[in-house]
Assembly symmetry: C2
Homo-oligomer: 436 residues x 2
Amino acid sequence: MRMTDLIIKKRSGKPLSKGEIEFLVTGYVSGEIPPYQISAWLMAVYFQGMSFEETGYLTRAMINSGKVFDLSSLAGPLVDKHSTGGVGDKVSLILAPLAAACGVQVPMMSGRALGHTGGTLDKLDSIPGYQSVIPEDLFRRGLIETGFAMTGQSKDVVPADRLMYALRDVTGTVESVPLITASIMSKKFAEGAQSLVFDVKCGSGAFMKTAEEAEKLAVSLVETGRSLDRKIVAVITAMDEPLGRKVGNFLEVEESLACLRGDGPEDLMEVTLRLTAWMVVAGGIVPTVEEALDLCRSRLADGSALDRFLANVSLQGGDREALLERENKARAAYSLEMKADEEGYVESIDSFALGMAGIPLGVGRNKTEDAVEPLVGYELLKKRGEPVKKGESLVRIWSESQETGETVRDMIRPAYRIGQKIPELSSLILKEIKAL
Amino acid sequence: MRMTDLIIKKRSGKPLSKGEIEFLVTGYVSGEIPPYQISAWLMAVYFQGMSFEETGYLTRAMINSGKVFDLSSLAGPLVDKHSTGGVGDKVSLILAPLAAACGVQVPMMSGRALGHTGGTLDKLDSIPGYQSVIPEDLFRRGLIETGFAMTGQSKDVVPADRLMYALRDVTGTVESVPLITASIMSKKFAEGAQSLVFDVKCGSGAFMKTAEEAEKLAVSLVETGRSLDRKIVAVITAMDEPLGRKVGNFLEVEESLACLRGDGPEDLMEVTLRLTAWMVVAGGIVPTVEEALDLCRSRLADGSALDRFLANVSLQGGDREALLERENKARAAYSLEMKADEEGYVESIDSFALGMAGIPLGVGRNKTEDAVEPLVGYELLKKRGEPVKKGESLVRIWSESQETGETVRDMIRPAYRIGQKIPELSSLILKEIKAL
């Protein structure tokens, strides 16, 4: 087999076989196939696409390039969720203990904040003492004892994806649906999940800006999963304004606690309940999403979801007393408010601009090596559709310096649009695509 | 400027600017831009193409990547010809002395045989003593004294093309019209030609199999040349059967001598005269192609073209006495004939198959490092449209062993198709595209 022939085959729009994809991935990882051939193939994939079956072969070959977590000795069902990333997206912190309380085991391996999107690990690290990256045995213990555990992605898992992503990043081949699909799916399956629920975000604060793009990715995820005999649900959700009201690492832990007590913002709860319910269905706990939603609501009401969360905090070294003490109190030193210039209704909030405002604050970062701050962030006092009086506060910002706070206020101001009519509000759940 | 951005720009179908193309070429040659970024860009070019202006920028940047022969002190006009390669294509050997006899200076830098196509340098090397690769000062002297000189492509000329071609070869990006255009044109202009005539071959024995492909390349060559303010003529010629009757290194020198004496095969003379005439027009010697054809015919008739050829042989170290003595006599040791199985007319001769038959004989080679043989080859005793009796010889083969001769006969046999009707014969000149 010659790599040049495989490039030409793909260039001509033909799908590669299982053996050809395996040859390509193992050859790249071993160094036998040089990066300049892989990048030409990646660009050919960008233009010609891949069939779902072919994407499945790529996913499988990438999984086999490194360590595969074998969690099959656990009781299961093992179901994980992946989000394509948004602003104020703290869903994982609520969903994991809630799904666990419903009887699903959630082996959650998360990432860190980058660019305009936050990171679950950074949020968890704002809990006093919490170790967001833990050894494998503790991770297993967490799954057994509390039904879920949180950790970072292991370097040994899917080395092919790390190599290939680095190459895609500098060769203009990031924006390819089959390549994105294989990258996401290979990591999740290598980490031990049996079934997956995807939150494909769509809108100004998401990577997929249009409904068309989001649906293309959702279909690719579901159909590739189907070709691998996996249960997959992709929920397309709106990301036109930040999810919930709080954005910031500890601020988002607080808002998650509120949700687990049944006191969360409506938009955040809608998305979280729907995603968790699909995990419960994919895990085979109950047959319908309606029953799963009822089960989720009762696990919130009886406090068992909150218990799971707090049990996990203790298991991963966190100080639950300190956490609860600091709740709604611990804030960065400087605080300022952004006030409305005019009366009306909040017509829209540009979530991309709000996400970017998190970078100078220290909620997020531009480069992976930058540090983040636990106690900075902002609270949206007014969200879409809410009435506003002139001079009323729209956003409260907490920062490490007065200057940064002012900079961030200037960044956030143009993101708020005030209109004279009540805007039409609709469900954040835009579409659901399933292979069950 | 970041190479990643240039890849994305091209991927999105936008033309790169002069500065961007220069950045890319100089960065690649200096090693600052890694091959994996260049190959991704090459594949994006494969899919998105390049404007003629952009192809001109690429041509110019490639020329400037290495040594440029400055022949502007010569009287001129300096005009060269390039053929996309065919079987039995000995046009250069006749055209160069003929154009020189008409008053054009022809700085001809040629290549060697590869695959099914022959190489001018290999043919010249079959002349006893002839040095087909000569130092620059002798090359200049040849241009001044005999109006033309023959040599190989210098390694210092257009290093960007050597690097890029090697990369294209292993990344499935050879078949791109703008890349082919820049590769051909950059070498010819760096070698000192002011104007160019192209023989774009079309048919089974050519790289361009269809009229559409050939025209696309011809238009690209002419329009890119126009964007560089150069005079260019592209003549699309049929390559459905080998050109002339003799294929082999010394055999083709012999047939060229016959042409220079006014005694060449009709098809070969038609193509050669047309191409030479356009060189005479592009060089500004006479204004119309009809006048140029008349001038060419008179230079053949008065023997001055043959004189130029023989003067060049002497200048480049060849033994003209030995050449003329061996003419029509020197042959490889073994000879055999392929005979007709049936009566009829030669309907077609697959020139690709005949070209490939040259490889085991030693007319050509599979790999650049292989040697060729001077005295092997074959003569087509019957060409398209000629009547054939059963048992009559179609082809005479000369080989270095009986076994090879038989192998080659077996390769050639299916290439001949005998029919019962006289096939329609038409001009080999299919189309002419000009920027004058």
